[in-house]
Amino acid sequence: MTGHDGWLPESAELVRPYVITRGRGLPDDEQLSLITLVTASADHAQRPTRLSPEEQNMLELCSAGYLSVAEIAGHARLPLGVVRILLASLKEGGYLVTRPPVARARLADKEILEEVLNGLRAKFG
């Protein structure tokens, strides 16, 4: 696996998940779905740092652009549940900006499906 220099996933496995999350429970599923897009807020660098190493990693991971919650979990190699809790707390602290996925009511929307269809055709012929 490339692109993970200096990242030591083993360290996360040495502590039980509730220690990493400081005992916080799972946030609302809808709030941070698998495909909610997440990025660091513009002023996050000015905020006082009282973040855990895991929270700092999370923040660093999404400081250069948008990633989905699932991608963050994949890159961080932490369980989804743990990642959700960390992201929820960072969001609460104003460190993160999130973009929710297309609302469920709009999923059957013709326009979205047509856009996906045209996109696939344009890409793959």
Binding site: D5, L34, V102
Partner: protein
């Protein structure tokens, strides 16, 4: 001290500030080629929740007919495809096993639909997957992964075996081939579109 992995710009969602995400599930039984299909069309190296097949798991899973496969997805893996500057599509794959129901709920919530990958030699193995997809009320298309040398059943027999509705699309595809995988996906999306009319 742990540090975050170094990602390059291609790892991030292109035009993320204007994008909304949608997802499609790529499902099928153990070792049917889901990861291969996702990998053949994803613009990022497919990511996973890191569970690969272990020795312990091999005793649980049914390995008949899949000799030579050393690792597989036991949880969820996914890829990404930027559709336009407004829509980014995620493809999520997971096996159709009851013990992953929690993950299934997560994946199915808000999905556009599902592409069900089927091995014509192991049709019965697809029943639980189809049941799960129907349980979550997702619309789907069947993609028959054409493995080397495996004879292809005729479509009518396959439809009967899988008890498909008349308008459920059935396509054959080679999951290793980008164009073939994309064509299967296109068939699904066209079907989903038909159902919104």
């Amino acid at each position: 001290m742990v540090s975050a992995p170094n990602l390059d710009e291609h790892d991030y969602v292109r035009g993320g500030e204007t994008q909304t995400a949608v997802k499609i599930l790529v499902v099928g039984h153990f070792a049917v080629g889901k990861t291969t299909l996702i990998g053949s069309i994803s613009e990022i190296e497919p990511l996973s929740t890191e569970e690969t097949m272990t020795q312990a798991a091999e005793e649980v899973d049914d390995l008949k007919g899949v000799q030579g496969k050393t690792t597989t997805t036991v949880a969820m893996d996914f890829g990404r495809l930027t559709i336009s500057d407004r829509v980014v599509l995620y493809l999520f794959g997971t096996p159709g096993q009851q013990r992953f129901v929690q993950m299934w709920e997560d994946m199915a919530r808000g999905a556009l639909g599902a592409l069900i990958l089927v091995d014509p030699e192991r049709l019965a193995d697809s029943f639980p997957v189809i049941d799960l997809i129907e349980h979550y009320g997702l619309d789907y298309a069947i993609a028959v992964n054409h493995f080397d040398g495996a004879p292809l059943r005729d479509e009518a027999a396959l439809r009967e075996a899988l008890d498909l509705l008349d308008d459920t699309p059935v396509v054959t595809c080679d999951a290793r081939d980008e164009k073939s995988s994309a064509a299967a996906l296109t068939t699904l999306v066209r079907h989903l579109l038909d159902h919104t009319r």
